[in-house]
């Protein structure tokens, strides 16, 4: 994991926006994790990753939140 974004305290679309910011700042090939418990981002994050052309490596279900692991492809 190159970086982890803890967005558990933010509302829709906060986790998605924080992820986009991190992906923009990162280098191609970086692996980024985002933690989110907001209902909107559970669907929005995978949708955005597909649309933006990155790779969703894993969705890890934790006790109170989900961890999305993304590889920046471009």
């Amino acid at each position: 994991m190159d970086r982890t974004v803890d967005a558990r305290d933010t509302f829709c679309p906060g986790p998605l926006m924080e992820l986009i910011r991190a992906v923009k700042e990162g280098e191609v090939g970086e692996v980024i994790a985002v933690w989110s418990k907001d209902a909107g981002s559970q669907r929005d994050i995978p949708l955005w990753i597909e649309k933006a052309g990155h790779e969703l490596l894993a969705v890890n279900e934790k006790e109170e939140y989900n961890e999305f692991v993304i590889k920046k492809l471009r």
């Binding site: 305290d9 509302f11 926006m17």
Partner: protein
């Protein structure tokens, strides 16, 4: 067809401005450009210093306003202004002031929040809307 969303922001209450920030964020996230056209009360909310002071809700939901404001504070929900500002940093969002409202209220560009990019007439708004796949009136 341009990949664009247009929002006409007529209302100046928190409950209508909140979705402006959220929808603009979503559009930017999905790679769209956003044109925001501020008119009437929507433009009043963007007066210099005003965005931080808007606490009003739509009249029909007025009784719920204190509860909503309390919940937003307790749960640390970012303000509509901060949400919009962050979205503007991430993508292409242009904020336009309606020229007719400016004239009516005797306002100049200096009276407006720095987030407002320019003052445009209605014909230009129609051009934005024509280029847009999504247009919403808030």
């Amino acid at each position: 067809m341009a990949n664009k969303m247009t929002l006409i922001v007529f209302s100046g209450t928190v409950d209508k401005l909140m979705p402006v920030g959220i929808l603009a964020s979503g559009a930017v996230a999905m790679g769209m450009e956003v044109e925001i056209y501020l008119t009437f009360w929507g433009l009043q909310a963007f007066r210099q210093g005003a965005p931080q002071q808007v606490t009003k809700m739509s009249a029909e939901y007025e009784d719920m306003a204190p509860m909503m404001m309390q919940l937003m504070k307790e749960k640390n929900m970012p303000s509509w202004y901060d949400t919009l500002k962050q979205a503007k940093e991430l993508g292409t969002i242009r904020v336009h002031a309606c020229a007719a409202t400016m004239d009516l209220m005797g306002m100049t560009k200096e009276d407006l929040d720095p987030m407002v990019d320019d003052i445009v007439g209605v014909a230009e708004y129609v051009e934005f809307a024509r280029e847009s796949e999504i247009t919403l009136f808030m």
